[in-house]
């Protein structure tokens, strides 16, 4: 058994144990599938220990030029992410929260403004355009603000995420760096109630000023009336 195969089996076992048996069943190699299943059985019986989760620590991010170029050819998105992470760690250590950078980079809210300034001014990255900023209500009392950055010059993308708790939903505003963030942040504030510190004009943008609640939070309840007009969906005599 090669090392690669073993790694693959480990991965599948982990997935299966997390409840995603489809991934195991969908695997094409019968040998691998069978081995993975038997391993899962053994683990569940307590004979074997669960294989360690694959981790990529920041130090393992490839530094060599050749490797990087190869990776660039394979997957552009990933390489940008990795590049940003590598540079970010040099400049702002202890600001990255997540360990997998395939799709996004998870940041801490505290130094976000400085990081954003740096992201825009660093010549090798030069993220001059904020494509999209959105808020999302991740369950477990967590709100996330996500930023899709793009560089017109280098034509690469990166996605950044900043998570805050509902009780202390405060994130530094990047309105001054990308002017488009002005309205994006107002919209996120309007919909989810994330407060952007340092925003010059943080008002509701789509809903009226005297609206109650944050509509895109998962536990949102519509208000009964608005200025005497009935809001909820049922009209008299319906259904």
């Amino acid at each position: 058994m090669t090392e690669n195969q073993q790694k693959l089996i480990d991965e599948l076992v982990n997935k299966g144990l997390d409840g995603d048996m489809d991934a195991v069943n969908a695997h094409q190699d019968r040998m691998v599938r069978a081995k993975a299943k038997s391993m899962i059985m053994k683990i569940q019986k307590g004979i074997l220990k669960r294989p360690p989760l694959k981790k990529i620590s920041p130090e393992e991010v490839p530094n060599g030029d050749i490797v990087q170029n190869q990776e660039k050819k394979e997957n552009k998105q990933e390489s940008t992410s990795a590049k940003v992470v590598r540079k970010l760690l040099e400049k702002f250590p202890n600001e990255i929260e997540n360990e997998e950078f395939d799709s996004h980079i998870q940041l801490k809210p505290d130094k976000w403004f400085e990081i954003a300034t740096w992201l825009k001014s660093e010549p090798e990255l030069f993220f001059d355009s904020l494509q999209c900023q959105m808020g999302i209500d991740v369950q477990d009392d967590i709100l996330e603000s996500r930023y899709n950055l793009h560089s017109m010059k280098h034509n690469h993308y990166v996605e950044l995420r900043i998570a805050v708790s509902r009780s202390n939903a405060k994130i530094p505003s990047v309105e001054k760096i990308w002017r488009v963030a002005d309205w994006f942040e107002r919209e996120t504030y309007d919909m989810l109630g994330i407060e952007y510190i340092g925003h010059s004009d943080l008002r509701r943008i789509l809903l009226p000023d005297d609206w109650e609640g944050w509509p895109l939070r998962k536990d949102y309840q519509e208000q009964e009336t608005y200025h005497g007009i009935i809001v909820p969906k049922m009209k008299e005599g319906w259904e």
């Binding site: 009226p208 509509p215 608005y226 007009i229 809001v231 969906k233």
Partner: protein, 163 residues
């Protein structure tokens, strides 16, 4: 005009005058361009070259004071509902309202989860004709307006109403 409305006994002269007045009203209903959403585009299409609302005497006016018919074309939201009411109040009598499209009629596709959508413009202002469709074709809008004209034609503006 308010001076003479519904003040007269029913007789032959009043009836003829009534007919003349309601003919005038039904033949020249100027409409207020109240386009809010998708339906506004179909309203524009109805007023433009191919369908041509001018054929039936309808001319767009942009001030509510000079309009007779308010075509509520599109979704009315809570934020807008207050303004709709205000604009309706600014129109001079006699005034009519056409609710164009399912949004203006009942909230349309947004009736279930649309927390910010008014479920039918008739919650705020009285509506004379409902035109269904999402969006209604210009032909159906014209049909609705002809229905409105029929309705106006049957009015007896001067005759005293029986209590």
């Amino acid at each position: 005009m308010g001076l003479f409305t519904n003040k007269f006994q029913d007789n032959i002269i009043v009836e003829k005058l009534d007919n003349l007045l309601s003919w005038g009203r039904s033949t020249s209903p100027w409409f207020f361009q109240f386009g809010t959403a998708c339906c506004a585009i179909e309203m524009m299409a109805a007023a433009a070259s191919r369908h041509d609302l001018k054929r039936i005497g309808m001319i767009p006016r942009s001030s509510p004071r000079q309009a007779d018919v308010m075509i509520v074309a599109g979704t009315v939201t809570m934020k807008m509902a207050i303004r709709v009411k205000k604009l309706y109040e600014q129109m001079a009598d006699p005034k009519y309202v056409v609710a164009m499209g399912s949004c203006a009629t009942s909230g349309g596709p947004y009736w279930q989860h649309g927390y910010h959508v008014l479920k039918g413009v008739d919650l705020v202002i009285p509506v004379d004709v409902y035109v269904p469709g999402c969006p209604p074709r210009p032909e159906s809008l014209i049909e609705g307006l002809l229905k409105l004209q029929e309705q106006i034609l049957e009015e007896r503006p001067l005759t005293r109403k029986m209590a």
